[in-house]
């Protein structure tokens, strides 16, 4: 595995820190007029999601992490694992609950997602920014009362619950912004 010296650090670089793969979120050069230079890095632990800052000396080096973001198609969930396929190589991988995390709420079969692989094992799943999901349950629309902005909960086909306008009915297809988990519009 290659090593990166701290003066090569840049945003997005994937490195091994204390045995875990991490991504550099922000890299800042710090140097007093008199005195040695440091590189202050905001890191995200790709296994735990923890974000923190670490400071390196100018001649320190760290090992690169074999981390790849791969676009894959979501196939199915077998009750324990989520299965994905690389549409180019037809290779399949199975991700556990830890790796899929919050993304599970937005996964619809055949949707394209980004699977992050570390040493070829899935460690995280990023859904598309926008997904289209069907409403499976919501209270019947109430007429009139729009004074409070008018919203109600709706359960989607994946089990996710989002706030939707009062006119939304069971069977509607909704466009959802997965980054904030909010209703955008009706898709049909």
């Amino acid at each position: 595995m290659a090593n990166y010296s701290s003066n090569q650090f840049k945003n997005g670089m994937k490195v091994m820190i204390d045995g875990d793969p991490c991504s550099m979120v922000d890299v800042e050069f710090v140097k007093p007029g008199k005195g040695q230079a440091f590189t202050r890095v905001r890191l995200r632990n790709l296994l735990t999601g923890r974000i923190w800052e670490r400071t390196f000396k100018s001649n320190e080096s760290v090992e690169s992490a074999d981390v790849m973001d791969t676009e894959m198609e979501y196939l199915y969930n077998d009750g324990e694992m989520w299965h994905f396929m690389d549409p180019k190589t037809f290779e399949q991988v199975a991700a556990d609950k830890n790796a899929v995390g919050e993304a599970a709420k937005w996964l619809k079969e055949q949707d394209k997602v980004v699977v992050t692989l570390w040493n070829n094992n899935p460690i995280s799943v990023t859904p598309p920014n926008f997904v289209e999901l069907e409403v499976v349950e919501t209270d019947p629309g109430l007429k009139g009362d729009t004074a409070q902005g008018g919203s109600k909960p709706a359960t989607l086909s994946t089990g996710a619950v989002v706030r939707v306008p009062l006119f939304i009915e069971r069977g509607d297809l909704l466009r959802i912004d997965t980054r904030i988990g909010e209703y955008v519009s009706r898709a049909n």
Binding site: K34, Q36, A37, F38, K57
Partner: protein, 322 residues
């Protein structure tokens, strides 16, 4: 196409404000009869400071030949002191300076340094003049004066002069995830300063009486408690290091010792050995008048005066677009 790479990264109104500030600076010194000078950007000698890397330039007396290795100046200090020793009197310079490897939000490999020297001044008198210049450019700025020890004692309960290496390291690791090894007390003091203390310095704060080990080219003296300190100050504005000044060392033998000590430290760190500016020692031997001098980052001054966060707002073409 605001982001087209041919365009300046700084907005034009900021560059106009910058020109006004530079004009204010020149007027400030003209009113005080301080002479504007220029010294070479290319020198046969490099800075001795182990933590500043000079850029090398190949010079030939004919195209295609390399006859000499020259160095882009990281500060006009050596040459200006040679002028002082030659009898120039009070001088200032708006100098383009160059530092290899320094690029970031608040660093650019080339930048503009305002450096000036005042005969008969000590560090306290010079701090007062820096304050006057700062108020010209940033009217209404609040100004405080703190010794290095007061700052560390009030914020961290730590005596920076007497704390052991182990105490400094432990104090630092309370605040900063910095697991590397380092036996230099200055490393941990600098880390505490840049990561913990500096960001809290609101308004303008002069920090003076640095530890004697961090004297650079300042004289050493004792503080009220008999601790050896450097007659050195730094100015921070809104958490940004802006200026560094000294009651200048004028002892030639001590100057020679400090150059040699730097060179030894460079060797120990595996850094290149470059020609030392021995002519500075000769100039001091001939007689440097009693004086204080300071270097102030003009780009950062403009950035702070305009309330900006990065040098990209005040330098027309930053390193990536240069």
């Amino acid at each position: 196409m605001q982001d087209a790479p041919w365009r300046p990264n700084a907005p034009l109104p900021n560059l106009r404000a910058r020109a006004r500030i530079v004009a204010q600076i020149r007027r400030f010194f003209a009113e005080r009869n301080v002479l504007e000078v220029e010294t070479p950007v290319l020198s046969h000698c490099a800075v001795s400071d182990p933590f500043i890397d000079s850029l090398e330039v190949e010079f030939g007396f004919h195209p295609g030949r390399v006859d000499e290795r020259l160095y882009l100046q990281s500060s006009p200090e050596y040459a200006m002191k040679r002028l002082l020793a030659a009898g120039s009197g009070d001088i200032y310079q708006l100098a383009k300076v160059f530092r290899n490897g320094e690029a970031g939000r608040r660093h650019n490999p080339e930048f503009t340094l305002l450096e000036w020297y005042r005969l008969g001044f000590d560090d306290r008198q010079l701090m007062a003049e820096v304050e006057a210049l700062l108020r010209t450019v940033m009217p209404g700025v609040t100004v405080r004066y703190l010794s290095y020890a007061q700052l560390f004692e009030s914020e961290l309960g730590l005596d920076p002069h007497r704390a052991s290496l182990e105490q400094l390291r432990a104090a630092c690791r309370e605040w900063v995830d910095a697991p590397f090894a380092d036996d230099d007390r200055a490393t941990w003091l600098n880390l505490l300063m840049s990561h913990r203390l500096e960001p809290q310095l609101r308004g303008a704060v002069f920090v003076h009486s640095y530890p004697a080990s961090m004297a650079a080219l300042a004289r050493r003296r004792e503080d009220e408690q008999g601790r050896p300190v450097a007659a050195r100050f730094e100015l921070f504005v809104d958490g940004v290091e802006l200026a560094n000044g000294y009651h200048e060392l004028s002892d030639a033998a001590e100057q020679a010792r400090r150059l040699d000590a730097d060179q030894r430290q460079r060797a120990a760190l595996g850094l290149p050995q470059r020609p030392l500016e021995r002519r500075l020692v000769s100039a001091l031997r001939a007689g440097l008048p009693d004086c204080a001098g300071v270097a102030l980052g003009v780009d950062r001054l403009v950035m702070l005066a305009l309330g900006g966060e990065g040098l990209d707002q005040v330098i027309s073409f930053l390193h990536p677009r240069a």
